[in-house]
């Protein structure tokens, strides 16, 4: 139970970072931290005590139970979605830096006029 609560705490740290940080790069970092906590939460759900990794290797004992492969397939897809989103965010952050000369949201707001 404690693992799920700490995972949710990591999620909230990321959310706190997005809400309070002023710097674009810090916002992207806290966004990726939130993503990592959701991925961990999904894999934690699928874990079975004493289960094996879901790969059928040659020398497996007879009645072995496997860890749940479905959350792993979900998280594998979600990790690459996370890569796509952070690449998009960083591309726009560079572009904003070149246009406004700063990563700070407040300065961008008052430069926008």
């Amino acid at each position: 139970m404690i693992v799920y609560i700490m995972c949710f705490l990591l999620f909230l740290v990321g959310l706190y970072g997005i809400v309070t940080r002023r710097n674009l790069i810090k916002i992207v970092i806290s966004f990726t931290i939130m993503e990592f906590s959701v991925f961990l939460f999904l894999v934690l759900i699928g874990y079975i005590e004493g289960g094996e990794a879901p790969i059928l290797t040659k020398n497996l004992p007879e009645n072995v139970n496997f860890v749940d492969p479905l959350p792993q397939a979900m998280v594998l897809t979600a990790i690459v979605i996370g890569l796509a989103t952070s690449a998009m965010l960083l591309a726009i952050a560079i572009r904003l830096y070149k246009k406004y000369g700063t990563f700070d949201i407040r300065e961008i707001k008052n430069l926008k006029g």
């Binding site: 990794a53 790969i55 059928l56 040659k58 990790i79 690459v80 690449a87 960083l90 591309a91 560079i94």
Partner: protein
């Protein structure tokens, strides 16, 4: 973009060959060992990025490579879609149906369409990451010129 010192260039040259072969291994054995299209594709892209960082090259050549990788990317995902649509006409007439023979579980040629999907999407993922990286590099180069 100017390259780095000759030592780094030599090490990068040696390393990227090994990384490339390792990426191909991960993609092709996706249905037997852990890894698969996504992991292997990104490792392939990593090998290529290592070369770009170490050797650097002028913007024109980078632009040509970017259009090349963008076309490879669209071609390989188009082939995957055609294979998936093929399922509509063969086997049980359903989208995304694995109609090739399944073969024996542990073998290399075993899981019907899965290895082919793995290879195609591995190429697509590698080309996508290379296009993204080249777009970033070209943008920084052109921004400096302006």
């Amino acid at each position: 973009m100017e390259g780095l010192t000759p030592i780094v260039k030599k090490v990068a040259q040696l390393m990227s060959g090994i990384i490339f072969v390792y990426g191909i291994y991960i993609v092709v054995h996706g249905h037997l060992t852990p890894g698969g299209a996504f992991a292997g594709g990104i490792i392939l892209a990593g090998a290529f990025i290592l070369l770009i960082l170490a050797f650097g090259s002028e913007v024109i050549r980078l632009k040509k490579e970017e259009t090349g990788s963008s076309i490879t990317e669209s071609l390989s995902i188009l082939l995957t879609l055609i294979l998936a649509i093929g399922g509509l006409f063969i086997g049980t007439k359903v989208f995304f149906n694995n109609y090739l023979p399944k073969g024996e579980v542990g073998e290399l040629i075993s899981a019907g369409l899965i290895p082919i999907y793995n290879i195609l999407i591995g190429i697509e993922v590698a080309a996508a990451i290379i296009t993204i990286f080249l777009a970033l590099v070209i943008f920084k180069e052109e921004e400096e010129e302006r």
